[in-house]
């Protein structure tokens, strides 16, 4: 019998999971919605404006690049959208459009496409952009519109900023509950730890992220700042304050866990999580910058290749027992 059509030839296995890169990326976007909602509630339309702009910018820039790049880029796979949203969560809600544009350019080009696009980058694109902006526009990046329904242009410092410039005493009237639900100043995504946690739990359930990095990250920040708190509570803020403020939750659950830029092996991830926590705490306690999460994650991104190389997982049959 002549075969009148060509049969598919491909390597085993033919069966595939129903997961796909696109699905993962969009799911992560969706899990960010609770946190986005809190920030929209806090900062009003401005928050939505920032998110919309970064989303349009990142996806748009990637679409433009896909026209000139010599390799294939699927700009609708959700990864650049996610980068955009996460970038939005890392800037204050009154960030001007041109700053968002610069941030998006940095994230997509410097953070991602110069390395060859999705999956090839060493550093977390959104964080490269955030640190780039932080260092370039420290004024705009460290003063925040005061949260609440108020639409007036009052700006203030984040709790960590206050801590850095004015010391622990100034924090007396910031309650931890406020921190947890987001009644404080900050960039869009760092204000509500609880809302972030909701999304993160779903990601953990779906196994899109693993527990090692976020848990160890937060635990190490807690323990390290806790030690100093015990030494001198008048000079150092409490560990609970530290884990609830700034980007710790955002960073630990959504940014340090970026699979592209975190280690492949279990041991690697453990060290990565500890390192992120340690550097965050050190920078917060001793550095000039009020916030250390972004720097810590970027630094650890840099050592991921070494972790991958020197901390392989146990293979089947590594123990001799025969």
């Amino acid at each position: 019998m002549e075969v009148n059509r060509l049969l598919i030839m491909d390597s085993s296995p033919q069966g595939r999971v129903t997961e796909s890169t696109t699905k993962i990326m969009y799911t992560v976007c969706i899990t960010l919605i609770p946190a986005l909602a809190v920030s929209a509630w806090m900062f009003g339309w401005d928050a939505l404006r920032v998110i919309a702009l970064t989303a349009i910018f990142t996806v748009g820039i990637e679409a433009l690049i896909s026209r000139i790049a010599p390799y294939k880029i699927n700009f609708m796979d959700g990864s650049s959208l996610l980068t955009g949203i996460l970038l939005a969560m890392n800037v204050p809600s009154n960030a001007p459009w041109w700053m968002l544009l610069i941030g998006s350019l940095v994230a997509v080009i410097l953070g991602k496409q110069v390395f060859g696009g999705l999956g090839q980058n060493i550093f977390n694109p959104a964080l490269v952009a955030r640190v780039f902006l932080l260092i370039s526009f420290p004024v705009a990046m460290t003063s925040w519109p005061l949260p609440g329904m108020a639409v007036d242009a009052a700006t203030g410092a984040t709790p960590l900023g206050i801590l850095k410039t004015e010391g622990v005493g100034a924090l007396a009237n910031t309650s931890l509950a406020d921190l947890a639900i987001g009644q404080v100043g900050g960039s869009l995504g760092e204000i509500s730890a609880l809302a972030l946690l909701i999304g993160a739990l779903y990601l953990l359930y779906k196994r899109y992220i693993t527990w090692e990095i976020p848990i160890l990250f937060i635990a190490v920040v807690f323990v390290f700042t806790g030690i100093f708190y015990l030494i001198d509570p008048n000079q150092y803020a409490s560990p609970v304050f530290h884990i609830l403020t700034g980007g710790v939750f955002l960073g630990a659950f959504f940014m340090a866990t970026d699979m592209v830029t975190s280690p492949l092996t279990f041991k690697g991830r453990v060290i990565f999580g500890i390192g992120c926590g340690l550097f965050t705490a050190i920078i917060r306690l001793f550095g000039s910058y009020p916030e250390g999460v972004s720097f810590a994650i970027l630094l650890m991104n840099g050592v991921v290749p070494l972790l991958d190389k020197y901390f392989p997982d146990k293979k089947f049959g590594m123990v001799k027992n025969g």
């Binding site: 060509l6 049969l7 598919i8 030839m9 491909d10 390597s11």
Partner: protein, 268 residues
């Protein structure tokens, strides 16, 4: 005057100490080295920039002498320097006619029918893991370009499912030959443009069925050749380039056009 002399004496003193120290050390701790390493090292620019990928000029020199090859070029040196180094090591450009790679297959998708819809990794070796051949002839060029990847001179490209070689660009390095899982590439002198473009050793009928331009082993070429340059073994003709006079008789005689004239434009 002393304000000129004192510094001069001090610096001179430093120079004296360090040069004597080095001289003595180099005598006392002398270690034999291939003198040519030093010679090549002398010729090198000495920028010690590490740009060549070796840790400094002497490492480069050592490697060049030990392996007797100048595959990596010093980025700082100009071409004269490289030539001088070549001369010092007696590494000269091989004389003789330029060789080029040549494909023993004409199985384009028109000549040789595809038999599968291959969707795996686009690489000839990888495809061989899934099936022996993607066209009717089991000897055919798979056209997935493992050889193209191996070529550092941009001399190969895929056209109509087979690889095409640019005689001008090909330098005859032979890198592509072991890259082909089907053993379809060989080197021939660039002027010997009459080649058998087939590698099928199946019996005539089977070969014909598989591919329109297969060598069917009919022996016609062997008979017409006046220089004893072409022979058929295993149902496949093979040309001895040393003997071939480019008379084209075999080309005319071949019933399936398996023998062809390559790169005519380049030669006229």
């Amino acid at each position: 005057m002393p304000e000129l002399i004192i510094p001069a004496l001090i610096l001179g003193g430093f120079a004296l100490i360090s040069s004597t120290g080095l001289l003595i050390a180099s005598k006392k701790f002398y270690v034999y080295e291939d003198p040519r390493i030093e010679e090549v090292n002398e010729l090198l620019p000495g920028a010690n920039c590490g740009g060549c990928g070796f840790a400094g000029c002497s490492a480069y020199a050592e490697n060049a002498v030990n392996t007797m090859s100048l595959d990596t070029i010093c980025p700082v040196a100009d071409s004269e320097t490289m030539e001088a180094i070549g001369k010092a090591l007696g590494l000269e450009v091989k004389v003789g006619e330029k060789q080029v790679a040549s494909l023993m297959c004409k199985g384009t998708t028109q000549n040789c029918k595809p038999v599968m819809d291959y969707r795996g990794i686009q690489d000839c070796w990888a495809m061989m893991l899934v099936g022996d051949s993607n066209k009717a002839c089991s000897f055919t060029c798979l056209g997935l370009g493992s050889c193209v990847l191996a070529c550092n001179f941009d001399a190969m490209r895929i056209e109509d499912g087979i690889v095409v070689i640019d005689d001008e660009k090909c330098v005859g390095c032979g890198n592509c030959i072991p890259a082909c899982p089907k053993d379809l590439l060989h080197l021939r002198p660039v002027s010997k443009i009459v080649t058998v473009s087939c590698f099928n050793t199946d019996k005539g009928a089977d070969a014909r069925k598989a591919c329109a331009v297969a060598c069917i082993g009919c022996m016609k070429c062997e008979k017409v050749c006046e220089s004893d340059a072409i022979h058929v073994t295993n149902f496949l003709a093979k040309i001895d380039y040393e003997k071939c006079t480019l008379c084209n008789k075999c080309v005319e005689a071949c019933p399936t056009n398996a023998i062809e004239i390559r790169g005519i434009e380049a030669h006229e």
